[in-house]
């Protein structure tokens, strides 16, 4: 299956390089959802997403000639997406202020266990957990954040994260470990975040 997809990619890229507009649209539609999910999980939302997606795909088409057909097109595009996300994180202005942590915030597990807790309440709690996760990630260096997001949130293997970020596997592991340590420290003072991270590793 991988090879079929690969041969299709070669044909598609060749058509794009011929200037065929339909092929450009096809390539965009084929990869847009994955690129969007990747950016979303690294950045934590759709803020500036339109510009970022445009940036990624314009770079893709500008650089298409340099795609060496021995590598997967998806991986090649993802590398561009990761670079765009990294640059965005590095250059953006300070993150918008996050809500102060609420002292008596109700842990997620408690909400789940409470008889009569509505689905809506549980969803709201989960959303709050995600918001706090990204608030904590905002305080990390971009390289650590990107590595952590790709490995822990996107679920990519460490070696793949290393490939996408252009770092060694050792450096990638170190970045993920540092990010994890910082999150655990933040979670010590944030029961909602703690609940979320604890659920990750039962």
């Amino acid at each position: 299956v991988a090879t079929v997809a690969y041969v299709e990619d070669v044909v598609l890229v060749d058509r794009c390089l011929e200037g065929e507009e339909a092929a450009a649209r096809e390539l965009f539609r084929k990869h847009r959802a994955r690129v969007h999910a990747c950016l979303y999980r690294v950045l934590g939302g759709n803020r500036d997403m339109d510009d970022l997606l445009q940036d990624v795909f314009i770079q893709v088409f500008q650089s298409l000639k340099s795609w060496r057909a021995e590598a997967s097109l998806a991986t090649w595009i993802d590398r561009i997406a990761v670079r765009v996300a990294y640059r965005y994180l590095s250059h953006r202005k300070a993150a918008p202020p996050t809500l102060e942590l609420v002292e008596d915030a109700v842990p997620i597990a408690l909400v789940n266990a409470t008889a009569g807790a509505t689905v809506g309440a549980r969803k709201a709690m989960a959303r709050e957990g995600v918001r706090r996760l990204y608030a904590a990630l905002d305080r990390l260096p971009p390289a650590a954040r990107v590595a952590f997001a790709l490995h822990e949130i996107e679920g990519r293997a460490m070696a793949e994260v290393a490939t996408l970020t252009g770092a060694s596997v050792t450096a990638t592991k170190l970045r993920v470990w540092r990010a994890r340590r910082a999150l655990v420290a933040a979670a010590a003072a944030d029961p909602v975040l703690r609940e979320m991270l604890e659920e990750r590793e039962p």
Partner: protein, 394 residues
Amino acid sequence: MSLKDRVSVEGLEEERWNRIEREVVASVRTRGDVVRARRGWMWAAAAGTVVAAGVIGVIALSGTGTGTGTGTGEAPIVVATDAKGTTIDLGGAKAIAAAETSFTVTRPGGGVDIVLARGRIDLDVPHRPDRAPLVVHAGDVDVIDVGTVFSVTRGEVVSVEVEEGEVQVARGGRVARVAAGQRWSEPMVASAAPVKAPAVTANADAAAVAKDRGAGSASAGAVKDPLARKHVASAPGAGSAKAERATPERERDEGSGTGTSTGTGTGSDVIMDLARAIRAEPIAAAVRVDGGDPFAAYQDMMLHATGGTASQGLYGMARTRFAAGAYDDAMRWLDAYLDRFPRGGDMEAVLWLRVRIRCQAGFDDRCREAAQTYLDRYPGGHRAHIAELVTNTR
């Protein structure tokens, strides 16, 4: 639950996607001069990577090309080794390709079809009683296997060596069985499809096709085109040029062998005449290549050349496979042509060859679709009148 499950991606509205797509495509359009550059090396790299990629993709190419689309999923996989050989898993069967070997792999009807352009392949094929056989084509030699260990070498001599089991070697209607420990070899002969320059092709093509059909001599000469006569009769004023064009050298009709027709029949007579008319139309030859194996030469053109030359190579591959009677293979190359070179210079020939192949088995939907495709693209083309009649056979 992992963090991935907990961080759900909030989708974008379709309108936003459309806007982004418009911006991106507009950007591509304005940079067309930068982008537009065909790369032969990319296909070469693709071939190299496919060598490493192995079986899964090859097996996933299963299917007999029964669809009418032009998807590349049915395209053959081209494998070319450099100074180092390689081992390829063909989904149970193992192929060891020697250095400087090139071949293509397809999966017609669940079998495995290997067209060896040059070099040597050693194959280890598990017994496959319930599956279509694995066949290696080396020029006009077919080696048919249902489970054994053997090798095929194609150079000036085609040789087959069997280590375990038994294979059938078919050539020119003769079939030999080669058992374990035995070796079969015969000199390679020129391809069954002499390649001539375009536009003066009728005799060469007729010879090739007649030979493929076991019709013996290719002296078909002046078999008349019944459809052309019928067409002239039914469309006065429009047919004289067509009639003139239709009468010179035609390939031998494989039906009656006489090419005679009343030109007045209806129903099945008309269908028969139409079938003859399609067969009587010359198939454009591929660009001339000097010496050696045309298929390998065209394959090299496709892989390493750019622009029009690459497209001519692809048509040459299809044309060669057609002349050898490997119609499914030919269709795959033709479909690959449509995918890669939608504005290729051989397009009319490509579309007509699709009609010719699709309509061989009768006038079904696939045949009519091929004719309609030709008609849509070349409403004033040389064979538009035939294509139109085909589309009306429903």
